[in-house]
Symmetry: C2
Subunit: 398 residues, 2 copies
């Protein structure tokens, strides 16, 4: 028996090795087809997404394996020319040895394949439509995926400053305290700090990678990523063995944005990749926050641009970050009235004054003045005696 030209027993064994639970023949076929599609199409390939959604992953893969003409996969939503172009770019990747290697390498690294039929499939990906991931390769605690339903992405510059790293640490720890999972990209600088602080606070943290989950990038974050595998989750839409590329970094950013409820950019240079994540989040209808910094710091220029362009809201505290997703905390009170201020101005701290004198100085009627004096006395700001009214404390410019 064969499946897409492969020995069925071999395929089934490999698929089971990277899956959770028991799978029947259909489920194996679909999981295998999705796994293959993660290697055949580049992330964000809309035609691949459309085809898989329309025909199902297995029939879509069969069309490729059987070398069907473009006319067979064309539809009302896909012209023959676009179908042909898509076939032309997918065909070169249809190499049986490489394809099985995607699964073998995944099994070797204990990776798990998660697909849209799984309960733990992140619901946020639905907003990406055909442009979403066909499947997700993960390493770590499978239950961490569920935490994405209450997660905030913290992203930012690799070339972070001490200030940026400090704010990232505070934000991550503060959001974990409020029950949020922390999503990021495991890059140097802000991303790394966000993951680290989440781990230190025993929170959930998920790192989305631009290459396979078997090759940690950047290599300097090997230890960090291993800790994330142990205590959280590392995920990618590319099969094991895939190298990160510029394109894949940009597409990885859309997963970070879509998987979380909101994205907060902590520091970003003028051309930082985190601006791309912010735009993805904005496009997917997710709230975006940006933390300001000194205007003299190039590492904050991108954050300021996002705020100026109306892409991001300015956020300064974890409470304000939580507010992005609708969590409102306690507020701020009171201010003085005009009469209140003017009467207080007219009362001296040293010389006791009569209500008439105070009224003249304040430019208010005596009646108004007396009622304000009574109020201020209750507040403990002025004190009355037989000699007149005096103020407690010293005046200063408001």
């Amino acid at each position: 028996m064969t499946l897409f030209g492969f020995k069925e027993a071999e395929v089934a064994e490999l698929v089971r090795a990277v899956s959770i639970g028991t799978l029947d023949r259909d489920a194996i076929e679909n999981a295998f087809a999705r796994a293959m599609w993660t290697g055949i199409a580049e992330p964000g390939d809309r035609v691949a997404g459309q085809l898989v959604d329309q025909l199902g992953p297995a029939r879509a893969l069969a069309a490729l394996v059987e070398r069907r003409p473009a006319g067979d996969i064309a539809s009302s939503e896909l012209s023959v020319a676009d179908a042909q172009q898509a076939l032309d770019r997918w065909m070169p990747r249809l190499q049986p040895a490489t394809m099985l290697q995607w699964l073998r390498q995944g099994a070797r690294y204990g990776a798990r394949l998660v697909t849209p039929v799984d309960d733990s499939w992140p619901s946020g990906f639905a907003d990406l439509r055909h442009h979403g991931p066909i499947a997700l390769w993960t390493r770590g605690r499978p239950e961490t995926l569920a935490a994405l339903s209450n997660s905030i992405a913290l992203v930012g510059a690799r070339a972070a400053t001490g200030y940026g790293e400090h704010v990232a640490m505070e934000a991550s720890a503060g959001l974990v305290d409020r029950g949020f999972a922390i999503v990021s990209g495991a890059a140097y600088g802000i991303d790394g700090m966000a993951h680290r602080a989440a781990l230190a606070s025993r929170g959930h943290t998920i790192a989305f990678l631009a290459g396979g989950v078997d090759r940690f990038y950047p290599s300097g974050h090997d230890a960090l990523l291993n800790r994330i595998v142990e205590n959280g989750l590392v995920a990618s839409e590319l099969p094991c063995g895939s190298a990160p590329t510029r394109w894949r970094f940009l597409q990885r950013n859309r997963l970070i944005a879509a998987a979380s409820l909101a994205t907060v950019v902590l520091e970003a240079g003028w051309r930082s990749g985190s601006l791309n994540t912010a735009h993805h989040a904005n496009d997917a209808g997710r709230p975006v926050g940006a933390v300001p910094g000194p205007v003299t710091s190039a590492a904050s220029a991108g954050c300021h641009k996002l705020i100026r362009d109306g892409v991001a809201e300015l956020v300064t505290t974890t409470a304000e970050m939580a507010e992005l997703v609708g969590v409102i905390e306690a507020g701020e009170p009171e201010s003085r009235t005009r009469e209140n201020t003017r009467v207080l101005d007219a009362v001296s701290a040293r010389v006791p004054r009569s209500p008439d004198d105070i009224a003249a100085r304040a430019g208010l009627t005596v009646a108004e003045t007396q009622s304000e004096l009574a109020r201020l006395e209750v507040e403990g700001v002025v004190r009355g005696s037989e000699r007149g009214w005096t103020k407690r404390g010293t005046p200063r410019e408001p």
Copy 2:
């Protein structure tokens, strides 16, 4: 002959001493009445403003001097009760000796009284309506008043940080270079730095005070204020001899806001008086900018609040401050296409690759790949040889 109960000759001499140009009897009467009103009513007294606008300053003053009943000054816009209350608060200030002293002290300090009939009356005050100043007491170069028509207010915390003072200095010098006059409040910290940098750049600068122009506040800014008198202008809506009070600081802020085309807050604590200036500017329909800073700095908390509340626009450069009043400068360019990025990812810096190989790696058709390679070659990013294509430079995460 008497004028409002004063000897006319004495009044005329005093008014001439604080006025520019020759004045006829009517002009003297009106100028004198306005001068008196600056001392009788507290800044921002809407009833006084309304009455002066309705009856003219002289008839409005006459009503007070003649002890007319509230019913006489009431109108469709002013109830008898409100009129009575206003009379009750104005009467105690109707002290002949004090009133002449306002003028004498002004003359002694070389102060000039500017009123709405003067050409140099700041046009921006019109937006304050009855709530605007009845007259302005000034010291300095009279021509500086005209510069208000192209001015920006730079305000901020007295407890400024080194960062805030640096930004204030850059902003002030940069705006002077662009032809703007700098308006501020002469306070310690940001205000002082804004004035200083404007003077150093030989620009126009105007300081609005909360007390008389004869008593400089804060006293530590005596030297600075004397330099502003020499090279710019110091102005107040209160007569000489008036002490600054909390109320007057708050009302002074509305003059700063209304006199300038836009207000920029450079640093402000959570309860800084500059927030009040920003709100006055916003209420008067003036654009407001706020400079962000570290979220760890209390001195920037007010700026961030203004931006979050939609009162101020985030501004990071002098160009962006100038943009607040519609001055647009040069912009930013370009970005890579998706194909461009993917082809570039697939080209190695070391190993020459064929277009077929690159197409498979990029997930693009060979035709697309070749056209992108040609484009990238023109840009000087890749180079083609008989052995294949290689990249110049090293790849990094975007």
